[in-house]
Symmetry: C2
Subunit: 477 residues, 2 copies
């Protein structure tokens, strides 16, 4: 009983304390549990099943573009990490160091990979000799470690799961094309599968990845108006190839440096799903992502024939990911559980429904109740799931658009940061000094220079000099 009470405790209101609401949802939906290692989290079955669906869908999309999976060691010798100057400066301050193997101190310490550019370069150096060996389109699914000071489940943890793609090409053009292709793949995945609309764009010099020539990003807006960087794709040019000596002989038998990219998405996406779609009752999962799409809740299940009919219904719905809750909890209790876990549809089925040859479908997002005949429920469920997927994306896009403000001068900009939640669109001169100033004075950072540019004015929002580009700004996770 103590446990049950704990379960029904109200989730903190998101308007009151969004951070606490987030933590409550993560815990009550049983997505994660804290571990004895500070900043590392245990991903529980409900959370991991979401990650598995993300993996399966992304992996399928990667492979359709020719990507192959590999596995690289989790350790990087210190000397290898140091080969590319910008890269080591970006990562060395936040890696975990292994100094002993068994009872012996190591001759050279190794870090646990924070990302694997250096390992891939060291590998490519050995396996690439000729233009015939190019391109290589490799990816790996693994965990990485970054010794962060402040941590939050899914959003920032010392160890997290991700995929990291690393490709290598004969020409700069091919590398650029792949960098953009993967960014667009990420964006489409977010919109189609997670029902999260994203802004596609390029990071400024200040915000780009350590060692990259350019970094592309997709930025999503959370319910509280903060931005979340949701996936990045980097073009390295031939910088790493030069640092690691990755050369190939071209068709004219000349030695050339190769061009590289990398791109990654992480368990952070689960945080995005929570913060874009969640509501006061907990998680709301878009149907395509949801590990369980339909929960059948039998009502008066002790009455003869109810559970049998529920089984029959589950069979009829076997095209979907369907479960029956046959536990001895009350229907109300089961409803709460289904809601907090974000299962898209609930189907209520009791003796009266059975008598009338019908069932009641309840949508998790709108709570709309739909009474349907058992004869056509399989078709109807498919329709409702599709509608829900589509409407969740539309709702998120509407929220994003309503929380995007145009600022034409610095006063408007500061006012927007202080009084409005969300993205701010404003022009920028391209000078890092302005970017630094905006960050210091307002805490807003440049999120990206969107591919879809608009000419809002011809003056930089900060210094008033000639503007070069429109930037999305915002407070970010």
């Amino acid at each position: 009983m103590a446990k049950e009470k704990k379960f029904v405790e109200a989730i903190t209101s998101m308007d009151e304390d969004f951070a606490q609401w987030y933590t409550d949802v993560v815990k009550k939906a049983e997505l994660i549990e804290y571990s004895s290692v500070k900043g590392c989290m245990i991903i529980r079955p409900n959370g991991y099943a979401i990650w598995e669906n993300i993996q399966n869908e992304l992996d399928k999309r990667f492979k359709a573009t020719g990507v192959e999976n590999v596995y690289m060691p989790m350790f990087i010798p210190e000397s290898l990490l140091q080969k590319e100057k910008d890269h080591v400066e970006g990562f060395a301050p936040e890696v975990a160091w292994v100094t002993h193997g068994g009872m012996e101190p190591l001759q050279e310490r190794m870090c646990v990979r924070p990302t694997s550019e250096t390992l891939f370069c060291d590998f490519y150096k050995d396996i690439i000799q000729s233009y015939r060996d190019l391109p290589k389109l490799y990816n790996q699914w693994c965990s990485v470690v970054r010794w962060e000071k402040e941590t939050r489940p899914f959003l920032r943890s010392r160890e997290f799961l991700w995929q990291e793609g690393h490709t290598i090409h004969a020409t700069a053009e091919e590398a650029e094309e792949r960098t953009r292709q993967m960014l667009n793949l990420y964006a489409d995945f977010c919109e189609d599968f997670l029902a999260i609309p994203v802004i596609r764009g390029k990071k400024t010099e200040k915000e780009k990845f350590a060692g990259a020539e350019s970094t592309y990003t997709i930025e999503a807006l959370m319910h509280d108006g903060k931005a979340l960087q949701s996936g990045t794709s980097h073009n390295f040019g031939d910088g790493f190839a030069k640092a690691f000596g990755i050369q190939y002989t071209d068709k004219d038998n000349k030695l050339q440096y190769a061009y590289q990219t990398s791109w990654g998405m992480t368990t952070r996406l689960i945080g995005a799903v929570i913060m874009v779609h969640g509501d006061s009752s907990g998680l709301v999962l878009p149907p395509r992502l949801a590990p369980v799409q339909v929960m059948i809740v039998p009502v008066r299940q002790q009455q003869e024939g109810v559970l049998e009919k529920a089984d029959e219904l589950a069979d009829k719905l076997s095209d979907y990911r369907v479960r029956i809750d046959k536990t001895d909890k009350s229907p109300g209790w089961k409803f709460s559980e289904q809601e907090v876990k974000g299962i898209p549809l609930r189907v209520e089925l009791g003796p009266k429904d059975i008598e009338a040859n019908q069932a009641v479908i309840v949508r998790r997002d709108t709570r709309e109740k739909i009474t349907v005949s058992l004869d056509e429920i399989d078709v109807k469920i498919g329709e409702v799931l599709e509608t829900m997927q589509k409407e969740m994306l539309e709702r998120a896009r509407k929220h994003r658009d309503e929380h995007t403000t145009v600022a034409l001068n610095y006063d408007e900009f500061k006012d927007a940061v202080e009084n409005k939640q969300g993205f701010i669109k404003a022009m920028w001169c391209g000078d890092k000094a302005c970017e630094d100033k905006v960050k210091e004075e307002t805490t807003a950072t440049s999120r990206c220079m969107p591919f879809e540019q608009e000419q809002l004015s011809d003056k930089c929002v900060c210094c008033g000099r000639t503007a070069k580009t429109m930037v999305y700004w915002g407070k970010a996770y």
Copy 2:
């Protein structure tokens, strides 16, 4: 050209030098590459695709028994590792220690998980209160680290990929049932999917897992007559529960300790596939496991219509995992590549075949050539793949049976170890002294006490006292 020459260099004969043959196959089939971290390997696309198929099939079988996936942190604080006495003694000498996070020394050092019993116990302690919370049937796919001195690709590396299942139950009986269930699942998987016959049995006290009450194992015989432990399943009783304080209230409201199991399979299985099925031309993959099942090799592909017909054929064979080799290499070269990589079937298709409305199927294992009409090739390919899968298992079983010797006394035993390759079946008194003596004097170890017992004699093969049980002995990887 330098590269091409290297590729066609003969693979070392397995009769001459089995270890070198193994290394040659692993390298030439492009399964792995060595990395700059000693003892850690890079799993290349050909190797990783095999692991993905193993994962998918095992994962499906696990889930059918109610198992759910989770993810635990990769780090274990030293104090947590030390909670169970036998366990820490077994693993502490071979773990990698993290001592610094970023620029700071850690307050307590952590090891990279060599296995995760302690993490799961620490988790179960928090989430299990009542009998209603039991059982939990959790599994994770991850990499683990053991700082081995001698390493070999797939068979023994400092980091390897595996799955580790960890279940917790209300009763000792349930835990024992799950331990055996998973062992049998492993054995069936090896036989059905990898075409590797295994001996199912129990480890002796000496050979059991650190901290387990009993360890079950499946043992396979490699082509060179050495045994490979291919999967283990451990029953922990309530030992870990007592060390970690994992208690639940039963239906009578009394506090009880819970009972646990764990079970694992690793990338070592890929080593088993190589050493059971491989031949002088390289890898031979059983059809169910093979990432590519059919390679279509166009002959005289520059002639009009050949590549078009090959495409048509690939479409017709889309129920299988099929590829066409359209590179500008010679057909002979393509044949060698298909062979070294172990692709089960090759389909040769040239202008004359097309004229005759036929193609030639070549089996990788027997090199049998089968000419079939293009009209019925899709059905025929399915039949040949099934036959090949079945015959590969039969051949491996025959090899194993022919390399299993019965020893009734110590002279016969020593003779068998010295002069015959393979398993030795012999009776044992159950005394560790005899097991130690056998190992020291012959290098053979007890592989398992098989579930299928035979009464070969009534005397221990070593000391001559009353025998308790029949044991499989052998030299092992």
